[in-house]
Subunit: 345 residues, 2 copies
């Protein structure tokens, strides 16, 4: 009975019950210092009694910020991004924003479609993974002048703000480590690189080092596999049934590395005694594996948190609307985590 029949009370109901005008109610939410504490109390009571919940849509429509941030990722259910999504989410949540999320399965056209959808919802900002996006995506971003940040990759000349690391360096580091350990017979297991600049950068870096060393792997030692334990395990199986087996395997990321290790174990081969395995990413759990995975450490948690905070900053900067925020570029350091899956030969 204290509730309106519909169950949904609006600001007018609150005003009526508190015997003040709607302006005062609105003010008591948005600029509490401008309204008499006693009045505020009355309003507070009315809100309680009616179970009133503010309608953000109405505020949004009025031209204010919507209080939402959109995050577009290739996939959610993947160790790579889960950590970065979590820390990004925490950071924007902490600043009072609500997160809209969607995945596109590495399809840049779907990415564009999702972006449009987010824009229809008038997100205050958008975060994307990597710097590889379709031209329409860039144009839309530009035209709508929405604050945008790219997570995971760093490029000094990126078209949009970014926070992340140089995947090219990661690829180099990984290959160099293997080479320093004396390996020359190195196989490569990477995902498809179109529309995936992280993988492309890593592979490019690794190949360059190997080329300099005259250790470029033959065709049959270059395996393609998605970021997925099962498929990686399956895909690289043939590798070890070959007459000449590589002494080390450099993997596109830790998930692939895990698949490779399982494939080796399954064949009764020992890591690192028979074959060394190198990952990239240093996902949660890679350190705890037995033997612990040698990999290139990416500070995923830090990258996600930084990206979230910088996103909020970009949004604050771009106030008033239409003021274009300046670009921010943050380079995060990566480093070799030499553990137990690679040995010198």
């Amino acid at each position: 009975m204290s509730l309106k029949q519909g169950g949904k009370a609006d600001i007018v109901d609150v005003a009526r019950r508190a015997r003040v005008s709607i302006s005062t109610v609105s003010r008591s939410f948005n600029h509490p210092d401008l309204v008499n504490p006693a009045t505020r109390k009355k309003i507070e009571r009315a809100v309680q009694a009616l179970g009133y919940i503010r309608n953000r849509a109405a505020q949004t429509m009025h031209g204010r910020r919507s209080g939402t941030i959109g995050l577009i990722v290739p996939t959610i259910d993947n160790a790579i991004f889960a950590e970065v999504i979590q820390s990004f989410s925490d950071a924007v949540d902490h600043a009072g924003f609500t997160l809209l999320i969607a995945s596109h399965g590495f399809d840049l056209d779907r990415e564009y479609a999702v972006l449009r959808k987010f824009l229809e919802h008038r997100v205050d900002g958008v975060a994307l993974i990597g710097l590889d996006h379709s031209e329409p995506t860039f144009q839309l971003l530009d035209q709508q002048a929405v604050p945008v940040i790219s997570i995971w990759n760093y490029e000094a000349d990126s078209r949009i703000s970014c926070v992340g690391a140089k995947n090219y360096d990661a690829g180099r580091m990984a290959a160099e480590h293997l080479v320093e350990l004396g390996h020359r017979r190195i196989a490569l297991v990477f995902p498809v690189t179109i529309g995936n600049d992280r993988a492309r950068g890593r592979l490019g870096g690794a190949v360059e080092v190997l080329q300099d060393q005259g250790a470029l792997p033959p065709e049959e030692w270059t395996i393609q596999s998605p970021y997925n334990i099962a498929e990686a395990k399956e895909a690289c199986g043939a590798l070890f049934d070959l007459p000449e087996c590589p002494s080390a395997v450099l993997c596109g990321n830790d998930v692939i590395a895990q698949g490779v290790i399982y494939a080796l174990l399954k064949r009764g081969l020992k890591v690192p005694e028979d074959v060394s395995v190198m990952g990239i990413g240093d996902f949660k759990g890679s350190k705890e594996m037995e033997p612990a995975l040698t990999t290139i450490h990416f500070p995923a948690h830090e990258i996600g948190g930084l990206a979230g905070r910088e996103m909020c900053q970009l949004i604050a900067q771009s106030e008033p609307p239409n003021k274009v925020a300046s670009l921010i570029r943050t380079k995060c350091d990566i480093r070799l985590s030499a553990r137990a899956t690679c040995r010198a030969v």
Copy 2:
């Protein structure tokens, strides 16, 4: 120059450019069949030229659906939920909805706060994990009459719609399998169960079976550990340094199981020769492990997808607004996946 100075065109601009009324423009979006194809073409061209993007906030405000669904989970960066989030996301995306997501870190008060925030955004529906929620949460849900679904657990007498499995059964199955294999010296590694009915159900089921067999583990064989490889590995270490070592370990989920396996490997103990390890959940990758993990299979992908589709159904049902949708309860089957980490003794 074809763009409005602000960069943002509205429906009025489109109408003007297409030389029709705003009503017609609106209609051509929402009820295209009611407008002349030729007119629709004109409007389409105007939209293109102006780079117009519809404002969902305005539609929302008008009382229609917002086109958003809120998903509240304990954590995102965890193998347990990542898969279910992904499939739920895909399902609602497919139906044209946009997903709002937030995590609460197993804190039911934060869950309540997040729910409020989502309701401010006028989500068309809310999905929660499990059936353990604070009383204010249930009341708010009730009072706002928002379609809601619980994911992961099934209870015949749940207060809200649910799709999932019986965690109690999972716990029983796991314990029964171990008992059938002849194990009596069984250790338990589970997370804190307050506010986590999944863990509570599993533990309860397992304990009951063990009690019936007079195989209830002593205090020092009951370990507490969060869902986290590193902490599980660390936490159960002491277990194997004890004078009398258990012959099997039953874990709260597969992540914990993996931690336990690594702890064993680290001590030079073999799985399953020295100790059997049982997981619950059957996460992505558990099948590929070497040795492959014996676990209770939860159809996470199916649960998430079903939940997403049923959420959309509930929303459709609750049209017109204020019509309360009926409860839906779907029980998903779980089964033992006996693989290689448990052996008979």
